[in-house]
């Protein structure tokens, strides 16, 4: 029964999405308000269908209904409930189903927020495009990626369970959905961009909606990427968090272009320029998410994340081709109509800084795309199997990343339009001193490597420039209103969420830069071969091997080593890195044991179980400042949430003030008054 129910939900979803797309398009093309309204209602049906399909799948997974091929391949009776629920995204078909659900939810939220704008042709076309994309993903599941295929032959008594790596850490239940939320979320700004191009109209409202939805998707993707790095660090046991794995890259590439958009959209808002460029960035961001999906879902790249080879690859490639061709055709058709004359006034202006930011972000995207796709091209064109080593990415990304840090330190101090070079020199003095002082201090403290020292110096400059942009305004407000400085700061920050949220995000980036400079490819790694009761010392940490303990659950057989650790004589505790063998898997999966600290992490892995003589091999990593990465990610998330949180209702009932209305009596309140005044 479940295959039929599941297929029914998918068919309803496809039909609703296709019909809704057609009606919305008709409504927008003919200015037919009724068709547009009915088309919009179909979004609700798409949401219901997607939720229904996922519910059927979860019902089958949790009920261990092995008559479904997907459950037989990815579920097992021994798997704990959390991972059974998470098995929805353990393999290709289920992950497309999750994709469809998240897309439906994004479209539903968007349709709800656009409910008063049905007559706007740009919004109508955006609804049509969003629904057309949803129809494609439902069709994908009715065709090559069918999650509800019945098992062939007899129904097995038990299933294989998810890949061992996917049921080894609870993070697996959170990191993929978060990444998908961001990744799929770019569909909405993409649809808005297509809507603007088809209707040939870009207005204030459109700009605001596009900016908000992009910021939301960007924030979720940022959190997803940081969680992914955390998963890699906590689960894979190699002591690092970023390996330029094709799938990591796939998440990062659209992040670059979306970040570029979030900056250059300011020029469009303030000066009405760069419209076509901004539209191109949105279109490119979405196309790049499909490229990433193709890389990870088609089995063309060997990677930690890659699913097995499937027929989905060519279909996705076809979809990408349709997207790219229609986007380029629309840009060519409408480009001139939307283009605005004018140029940047001066290289010493906020606009110019945003432009350079865009160049660097685009260059980063190009570098990472090239390195990721090159092995595929080489195999397709010259039949050569090769890999692009991590040094390629490191060497090219490092200078570009440092340039971005430099921009983050300088740009907030630049006003729009133009400024006097002399004035700029005065403003830059503080950040420059902070950078030079920090660089000198860390060099004296023993940090080596030009890139690391420069990164630490620039991170300090970024922090300084944020503080020196905020402090004078706090002082001025405190004087003008007779408030305490802390109160003044709070009111300022509450009054202009975008500006101060953005500053908080920049501080988060600076914290991450510090973490990367201190820990990326740095740290100490030793392997110790220890007999029971013996100890060895690495970087002040004395590790004593107490013994091993085997524990057996239906899910897995775990062998953990008990290691007592002291640091410079002070007890740290007993750490228990382990190896686990899952039934049905041939290889053991290691789980590192990490004692995280603000200054450094102690990271222990069990490399091999006791040999004939009873000795174990233990990997010891001492990683400086890795915790700062997660801290920086958290700060970025908070800053984004602050900036993205809807400050006021668009449609407000008269007489009912919004709960979180901005303080309107201050010079800094309201977005247009003070944003980027730089003084």
């Amino acid at each position: 029964m479940k295959p039929e129910l599941g297929h029914l939900a998918l068919a309803v979803g496809f039909a609703a999405a296709a019909t809704g797309a057609a009606l919305a398009a008709l409504g927008a093309a003919r200015r037919d308000l009724r068709a547009a309204r009915v088309g919009r209602l179909f979004v609700a049906l798409v949401v219901v269908a997607a939720v229904g399909a996922v519910a059927v799948m979860e019902w089958a997974l949790l009920g261990h209904d092995f008559s479904l091929a997907y459950v037989a391949q990815n579920g097992s009776r021994a798997t704990p409930t959390l991972f059974t629920v998470a098995s929805l995204w353990a393999a290709l078909q289920g992950s497309i189903l999750l994709w469809a659900l998240i897309l439906a939810v994004h479209l539903g939220v968007a349709a709800h927020r656009w409910r008063g704008l049905t007559g706007d042709p740009a919004i109508g076309w955006a609804t049509a495009v969003g629904l057309a994309v949803a129809a494609f993903f439902f069709a994908l599941m009715l065709g090559p990626a069918d999650p509800f295929r019945a098992v062939q032959g007899a129904v097995p008594a038990d299933g294989a369970g998810p890949n061992p790596l996917l049921q080894n850490h609870p993070m697996m239940a959170f990191h993929p959905p978060m990444l998908y939320l961001g990744y799929v979320g770019f569909t909405v700004p993409f649809a808005l961009a297509m809507g603007a191009l088809i209707s040939g109209r870009v207005d204030e409202q459109w700009l605001r909606l596009t900016r908000q939805t992009t910021l939301l998707a960007w924030g979720l993707l940022t959190v997803g990427i940081v969680l992914g790095a955390w998963w890699s660090y906590e689960v894979l046991g190699w002591g690092g968090y970023w390996a330029w794995d094709p799938v990591e890259n796939a998440a990062l590439i659209p992040w670059f272009t979306a970040t570029a958009f979030l900056h250059s959209v300011r020029i469009q808002e303030r000066r009405g320029r760069l419209r076509v460029w901004n539209l191109s960035l949105l279109l490119a961001t979405y196309c790049l998410t499909i490229v990433g999906t193709f890389l990870t879902r088609s089995g063309v790249v060997a990677s930690v994340h890659a699913f097995s080879r499937s027929a989905v690859g060519p279909v996705l490639l076809g979809f990408l081709a349709v997207l790219a061709v229609s986007a380029l055709a629309l840009l060519a058709w409408r480009g001139d109509r939307l283009r605005t004359p004018g140029r940047i006034d001066s290289p010493l202006s906020r606009e110019a800084a945003f432009l350079v930011n865009n160049l660097v972000m685009t260059a980063l995207a190009t570098v990472v795309v090239t390195g990721t796709v090159f092995p595929l091209l080489a195999e397709a064109l010259w039949n050569r199997q090769l890999a692009v080593g991590a040094p390629y990415f490191d060497r090219l990304a490092a200078p570009l990343g440092l340039t971005l840090l430099l921009l983050m330190a300088v740009a907030p101090l630049l006003p729009y339009r133009a400024m006097e070079p002399r004035q700029l020199r005065e403003r830059l003095l503080g950040p420059a001193v902070a950078a030079a002082g920090t660089a000198a201090a860390v060099t004296a403290a023993g940090v080596r490597g030009v890139e690391r020292v420069v990164a630490l110096g620039l991170a300090a400059a970024v922090a300084w420039s944020v503080v020196s942009s905020v402090a004078p305004q706090v002082r001025a407000r405190a004087r003008a209103h007779g408030e305490r400085r802390l109160v003044a700061l709070g009111r300022l920050v509450a009054g202009n969420r975008r500006r101060y949220g953005g500053f908080v995000v920049h501080l988060g980036v600076a914290i991450i830069a510090v973490a990367l400079a201190a820990s990326y490819g740095a740290g100490t790694h030793r392997e110790l071969v220890l007999a029971q009761g013996r100890s060895a010392t690495v970087q002040g940490y004395t590790v004593t091997y107490l013994g091993t303990e085997a524990r057996s659950t239906p899910q897995k057989l775990t062998l953990s080593a008990q290691l007592r650790v002291t640091h410079d004589g002070q007890p740290v505790g007993v750490l228990t890195p382990s190896l686990a063998v899952f039934p049905g898997a041939t290889e053991a999966v290691g789980s590192p044991s990490v004692r995280a600290g603000l200054r450094q992490d102690l990271y222990l892995t069990l490399v091999s179980s006791p040999d004939e003589t009873g000795q174990v091999t233990v990997g010891v990593f001492v990683n400086p400042l890795v915790s700062w990465l997660w801290l920086g990610g958290l700060v970025m998330a908070l800053g984004t949430a602050w900036a993205a949180w809807p400050a006021r209702r668009r449609v407000r009932r008269p007489g009912v003030p919004a709960r979180d209305a901005p303080v309107l009596d201050t010079p800094a309140a309201g977005e247009t008054v003070s944003v980027g005044s730089g003084s």
Binding site: A306, G371, Q385, L396
Partner: protein, 131 residues
Amino acid sequence: MIATGRLRWWICAAVCAGAVAWLLGAGLTANIQYFRTASEAVAARADDGSHTLRLAGAVVPGSEQDTATGVDFAVTDGHATVEVHHVGSAPELFAAGAPVVCEGHWQRDLFLSDRILIKHGSDYRPPEVRQ
């Protein structure tokens, strides 16, 4: 005026694109690692010099010998056999007959490996076994 602005813009764009293309090209040529089966690796040994490459094959049973710094073993693809000197610990899965990919470079006719790649997922096979 507009014409010169346009021209300047194009020159600027061309210079930027050229710089990026040059960096990409230089970065790629320096960091490409070819996958070679044991016999391909032997055939291309003179060309590869000390360039990093990935050597694929199966561990010859009985050839593994633990050393102070790692493990020595031989890999074969059925046609040619390469002696490998690996520095660092071998992964848990490392065993006689196991398909491995070693990352390293030639030193005369010995292959110095500093990384043994074992892909996660039981359905992974090194490239040459897949064919």
